[in-house]
Amino acid sequence: MSGEEIFYLSVSELAKRIESKKLSPVDLTQTYLDRSQKLGPRFNAYAHLTPEIALEQAKAAEKEIQRGHYRGPLHGIPYAAKDLLAVKGVPTTWGAKPYADQVFDYNATVIDHLSRVGAVMLGKASMIELAGGMGYRFASASLQGEAKNPWDTTCWTCGSSSGSGAIVAAGLAAFAIGTETWGSIICPSAYCGVSGLRPTYGRVSRYGAMSLAPSMDKIGPMARSAEDCARIFAAIAGHDPKDRGTVPIDKGAFTYSPSMELHSRPLKIGWLTNAWKSLEPSVAKPIEAATRLLKKYFSSVKDVALPVGPWEDAGGTIVAVECAASFRSLIRSGRVNELTDPLGQIAGYVNEQYSATDYLQALKVREIAQKKMDSLFEAFDVIATAAQPVPATPLSLNLETGLVFPDPLGGIGNICGLPAMSVPCGFTEKNLPVGLQFVGRAGDDFAVIQAGRTFQSHTDWHKRHPKIH
């Protein structure tokens, strides 16, 4: 194995080496830190590194493992956390200038969970300012600058978990934590050629995370494989009394072992016929190839259409209102003008004007959408489509005018809190990754993981990585 290859090993492969004491968590952490210090700025991937924390955690992990106390597959594994997760004593900027000096005196629940299983935090991943809640016109809408795609640095990583995508794709950490209100895990995972899991709403505590739209915010892993996502999800999922949005104890926890798949059910796939108006030809080709594989390796694949309704309109209204409420003081104080993006500086004022009746109408529409989607999942275990209709876009693209297309699945999936996963399924002729998306019934995160695992057991797209020198 070349020196480069170790940076692209999956969590599962690293864990085997660490458990068998063939790989030192301290050495692994130091090599990842060195690489992150050297290459992170090239991609604007990190908000900041935390070498002191990382080495302290790595030394503790190594000591425990040497004593025979192995905590599990994340023990000694280095990761990055999106910079909207509070870490005690460390700046948490939310990617935005008004919060550049913000420091919390407590950890987000997700950070505590990862610490408990022995994972090693390398640093905070860059992100779109305020996770894009105020809107943004350019990829540069971040305190850390535009996140550059490791597959082509003239292209964007997508947002808002932009640094998380770049970090995993560039082999700067074994995995990263991202968040999604609407598309912020699925899109960067697709653009960056990594595997990303958006869990069911409420399965991962948001305590200590920046609140954008509390009824839609979700936290999930971005990693090298669906299996890695499952292992990370198992560590961070669960009820949390500090987050009233988390589901009850008996519904929140998630356990995973590869042997579970031996007993898993054959998956019935619904291939969505109306998720995208059209696919860019360079994306359509790998997606067509992926559908052929689905038909070969899944128990059934049948066409299905999403129910028709104003799901995006409802989602947009919910996000706008809840975001305006979350950042009310920022808007009212005028400090919103300190945001980098020209759209972000003004959209909050518009969002403030939404009426209570329209917001409640959106919530009614949400309930109708939930029932329609639950009915749809009586016939299918997961529904599938392209993760995005286009590959990674140029850094300079005006997103308001150059990247406009309907996204009914993103709308309905996020307002209903449905789990989703994006896995790499090929490349364009310009060698940009293309993602395949699986969406499952609320609570059935295992189905989307199983779908991703099954697809990846017959393909090696997820093992490809960009050449970085």
């Binding site: 894009g132 105020m134 809107g135 943004y136 947002g159 209100t181 598309g183 899109c187 709403y201 409420g202 949005g245 589901v247 519904k251 016929t273 109306n274 108006k277 860019e280 049948k302 299905v304 999403l306 028709v308 309704g309 104003p310 995006e312 309109d313 209204t317 706008a320 209102v321 003004i346 518009v350 969002n351 004007q353 939404y354 009426s355 009746t357 329209d358 109408q361 919530l363 529409v365 309930e367 109708i368 939930q370 329609k372 639950d374 009915s375 749809l376 999942f377 009586e378 016939a379 997103l399 308001e400 406009v404 297309f405 309907p406 996204d407 993103g410 709308g411 809190g417 609320a442 609570g443």
Partner: protein, 139 residues
């Protein structure tokens, strides 16, 4: 893709399209409804390529804009004011689609999202067979 349409909504735009509303009309000071902006021909104020709105929709948009300008107007440059006007206008069709969707009087708004994880297992008439492909109305 460039397939922009009046109903097209980008995921990245969820805050951009965020714009407006009806209740704000009733909340706006009545004197704002008589301000210069409403005495000026509406056509002259609409941004280029703006969605075509009904007179009621346009009036509603104008009320929202005036509400923002009355409260925060001194903060904005002329370019920002024009952008706010554009955002407010572009958001109106989305709100009108949302309002037009029929909901029952007894339909409960999910005041806090509770994923349907505790549903009863029962046959669903709409799920017996996959639906044929069809394009959504709004895409």
């Amino acid at each position: 893709m460039g397939n922009k349409s009046d109903s097209a909504i980008s995921r990245r735009e969820f805050a951009r399209r965020a714009a407006f509303v009806s209740a704000a009309a009733s909340l706006a000071p009545s004197n704002l409804l008589n301000t210069e902006s409403l005495t000026t021909p509406l056509q002259a104020q609409q941004p280029a390529n703006a969605p075509k709105l009904s007179p009621e929709g346009q009036t509603e948009v104008e009320a929202r804009i005036q509400s923002i300008f009355a409260q925060y107007g001194s903060r904005f440059s002329d370019a920002q004011k024009a952008d706010i006007r554009r955002l407010a206008t572009e958001a109106q069709p989305s709100l009108e689609r949302l309002r037009a969707f029929t909901t029952d009087n007894g339909a409960g708004p999910g005041l806090y999202l509770k994923p349907l994880m505790e549903r009863e297992k029962k046959p669903s008439p709409t799920a017996a067979t996959p639906k044929p492909a069809s394009a959504p109305k709004n895409s």
